[in-house]
């Protein structure tokens, strides 16, 4: 009964979305205020209906209602409650429902807080947003109904893919979707502005918080995904340039560019049509990401659906959305008034450089990700484009970006002085040179990547600090005065420093862990010892343990330093009887500066050397030898630490007072002092 209610609510939401997509748009064209006003209540009702549907599906998962096919296929009564809940979006249908839930939530948020938007712009934004909503609701209702019944219901369900039963991954999809869907808001604003034929700083002040929120959520979502891959896949790496990873990384790159170009529109009323184009591309890449991972074109943990109808449906949405918006762009963009002039040495130019490098970098990722699909389609040849490609194309483009980054915020708008900006960065330059010299000393100059990478990381971190220090007058003004100025700094300034500094920390983590990682793969018997990076791992043997819904072989490794036991690590191999999958659980000891990472491989059966069947089938005796893989990963935690700081930077910036509802009018109205401070 509740499942039927959910389905009914979903169809109702689809109908409401259709009305919301058409009536306010027509109203805005005819200047009919009553038709335009319809958009707000419609947005609320649409969100309410989807929320009811989502609650109904959650209910089915929580009470393990196996008469619903989706629950029977993806849940199991023995599963812990957290994974029953995350199972709601751990499958194709449920994850699309989550997508629409977030989409309609954002629509309702615009309807609720959009009191100060011009009525016609608000109506058009909500109408465009409802078009996206209607498309995805139709997708769910017609191809991916999560509420289908099963008769007779099975006694128990199939369980969730064990790889996905993990706290880090439980929250990875919601954050990723917050990001993707946040870009849909920027997209709706961009298309509405094109229909309207007007883009001004007020428009940018509306788009920027949405982009900022989407960017922050996407940053965290990608970080969670990579953290999960690090500790769950047991390969000791954190980023594999897998097409599925790239699918979320491309919108992030373009979203970052959009974030920066929207500042130029807001402050200087320039780069308007470029910003609109970025908003369209960011959402298009979000859709392409969804298409790639959901259509089964790529095979991965994410490819739940391999129903061709679904792939074609998403492709159709993609073609209509991207084609339509780009067509509108071609038609309308030339009418947008060009903004203010600026000199080659100016903040505007610095941000253009940022945009250019980020977009081109996104393009290389795009080519590398889609080339295998393209080649397979035209010639049938199977190729894989792996990390070497991306290291050779993406990294060289990041170097100039990072090099220019700290200087950007120190150059004035309109006409700046690069020499002056560099003078303010002299301490950061000293730090970067110090990092380079230190690396040279440690490595005997063997690795240029390490040298440049660490110098850039230091340059980024200390550049962010130098910029902050300059603004509060550190060194020039008395301390008390500087502290007072620090308190008075706009939150956006703090957010920017956090995001740029966090990037520096993440770069440091990536470079150091790449260059100084130590890997050891050995066979060990109980009692054997392994030395790695100053630690001694003493293998105590393997025991069998039973978890709530799995059986495991659990190794015990005493970690010793100077003959004293620091801790005991317990890597596991788990077998999930429901579904029969096996997973490897790495055991990690982290100090915040480095990780000791141990993975248990398979056992060597007695009588090795003979052809043997699956080692697991053989019973491993107490004197069996186990394949053990141990890594020392220095500075790896900083990658996620840096990503979280970037996320926090986004959030702090989001609470800047100029984005507050009912904030005072544009920058022009404020005094020149206020502009200079920003």
């Amino acid at each position: 009964m509740i499942a039927e209610l959910g389905y009914f609510a979903l169809t109702l939401a689809f109908m409401v979305a259709l009305v919301q997509a058409i009536v306010p748009l027509a109203g805005a064209a005819r200047g009919d205020h009553r038709m335009m006003a319809l958009s707000r209540p419609a947005a609320f009702v649409q969100f309410g209906c989807v929320a009811v549907a989502f609650a109904a599906l959650t209910h089915a998962f929580v009470v393990s209602d196996f008469s619903v096919i989706n629950v029977a296929q993806n849940s199991h009564s023995a599963k812990p409650m957290l994974y029953k809940l995350s199972g709601v979006w751990g499958n194709h249908e449920g994850s699309m429902l989550l997508w629409v839930l977030i989409l309609t939530l954002f629509g309702a948020a615009v309807a609720a807080c959009g009191g100060n938007l011009p009525a016609s712009l608000r109506a058009r934004v909500l109408a465009v947003h409802a078009m996206i909503g209607a498309a995805f609701l139709a997708f769910i209702v017609f191809t991916s109904n999560p509420f289908l019944r099963l008769d007779p219901p099975p006694l128990d369900g199939n369980g969730l893919n064990p790889l996905l039963q993990d706290p880090g991954l439980a929250f990875h999809p919601p954050f990723l979707y917050l990001g993707y869907v946040g870009f849909s808001m920027a997209f709706s604003f961009a298309v509405a502005a094109l229909i309207e034929g007007r883009v001004d700083p007020a428009w940018a002040r509306w788009v920027r918080p949405w982009t900022l929120a989407a960017w922050a959520a996407l940053t965290l979502g990608i970080a969670l995904g990579s953290w999960w891959a690090y500790y769950e896949l047991g390969w000791g790496g954190f980023w594999f340039w897998d097409p599925v990873e790239n699918a979320s990384f491309m919108p992030w790159l373009i979203g970052t560019a959009l974030l920066h170009s929207a500042i130029v529109v807001e402050k200087r009323d320039a780069l308007k049509s470029w910003t609109i184009l970025l908003a369209i591309i960011a959402f298009a890449l979000s859709l392409i990401g969804t298409f790639l991972v959901r259509s089964g074109v790529l095979t991965s943990v994410h490819a739940f659906a391999v129903d061709p109808a679904r792939g074609s449906f998403i492709l159709a949405i993609l073609v209509v959305a991207v084609g339509g918006s780009l067509g509108l762009y071609a038609l309308r963009a030339p009418q947008l008034k060009a903004g203010g002039l600026f000199a080659p040495a100016s903040r505007e130019s610095a941000l253009i450089l940022n945009n250019l490098l980020l977009s081109v970098a996104a393009l290389t990722v795009f080519i590398g990700t889609l080339y295998p699909l393209f080649l397979d389609a035209i010639s049938g040849a199977k190729v894989s484009v792996g990390p070497p490609f991306f290291n050779a194309t993406f990294l060289p483009l990041m170097a100039p970006l990072f090099l220019a980054l700290p200087a950007g915020p120190l150059i004035a708008w309109k006409r700046g002085d690069i020499a002056e900006a560099l003078r303010r960065l002299r301490f950061a330059a000293v730090a970067a040179a110090g990092a380079a010299l230190g690396t040279f000393y440690l490595l005997d100059g063997r690795s240029l990547l390490a040298l440049g990478g660490l110098a850039l990381a230091a340059w980024l971190v200390f550049g962010a600090l130098a910029e902050l220090g300059y603004r509060i007058g550190g060194g020039r003004l008395p301390l008390a005065h500087a502290l007072a100025r620090a308190r008075g700094l706009p939150r956006a300034a703090w957010g920017m420093a956090l995001a740029h500094g966090g990037l520096g920390l993440a770069v440091a983590g990536i470079v150091v862990s790449q260059v100084w990682q130590i890997e050891r793969v050995v066979l060990m018997r109980a009692g054997d010892r392994l030395e790695i990076a100053g630690y001694m791992l003493a293998f105590q043997g393997v025991t069998r343990v039973a978890g709530p819904n799995y059986r495991a072989e659990r190794g015990a490794f005493d970690v010793m330093r100077d003959e004293r036991i620091v801790t005991t690590l317990h890597p596991e191999k788990r077998v999930y009887p429901v579904g029969g999958a096996t997973t490897t659980e790495a055991a990690i000891l982290t100090t915040g500066f480095a990780d000791l990472y141990v993975v248990l491989g398979e056992a060597d059966a007695p009588g090795a050397g003979q052809p043997l069947n699956r080692p697991q089938a053989a019973i491993a005796g107490p004197d069996a030898a186990w394949a053990v893989r141990a890594y020392w990963n220095p500075l790896v935690p900083w990658i996620w630490f840096g990503a979280v700081i970037m996320f926090l930077g986004g959030i702090v910036s989001l609470f800047d007072r100029r984005y507050r509802v009912g904030a005072p009018a544009p920058a022009r109205a404020r005094g020149p002092a206020a502009i200079a401070a920003e």
Binding site: V385, F389, A392, P396, V521, G609, R614
Partner: protein, 150 residues
């Protein structure tokens, strides 16, 4: 600085960036693309050794051998027409079994033995890597049962 000059500079910068990116992409394509071959293709096409590539097929039943006291593992990858011997030293993925699909990355040595640097995992029991499914289809030994999830 007139609008026209500015636009000219911008365009120049944009083409420069695109040019650099194109150069990077093309040179990377030449060096770092890894082709996939089925065992039959390796045997029939006489692929030259020492080029990074991927092979895929089924782990031949009864071919898995482990050297005493070391991590070295030998097995044969087959598409049921031809088989290629593989040597790998390291930890095998969780679902590596005889008779199951596998993809390995590495190089052929001069004796036609595939030296794998990486043996790729699959995610569940029924999943068949698409390259392997295609290799089996080409060799005419594809059974739908094996690829129910595809």
């Amino acid at each position: 600085m007139t609008r026209k000059r500015r636009r000219l500079y911008l365009l120049g910068l944009m083409f420069a960036a695109l040019g650099v990116a194109t150069a990077l992409v093309l040179s990377a394509f030449r060096d770092s693309i890894v082709f996939f071959y089925s065992p039959s293709e390796i045997v029939e096409k006489r692929i030259p050794p020492d080029r990074p590539m991927r092979i895929g097929g089924l782990v031949e039943v009864g071919s898995l051998q482990r050297a005493q006291g070391s991590l070295e593992i030998r097995f044969r990858v087959t598409d049921l027409n031809h088989a290629v011997p593989v040597i790998y030293a390291g930890v095998l993925p969780d679902l590596f079994r005889e008779g199951q699909g596998v993809v390995a990355q590495g190089k052929l040595d001069s004796e036609g033995v595939f030296r794998a640097s990486e043996v790729l995992a699959k995610h569940d029991e029924n999943y068949m890597p698409p390259e392997v499914a295609d290799a089996l289809k080409k060799s005419g030994h594809w059974q739908d049962k094996a690829g129910t999830k595809r």
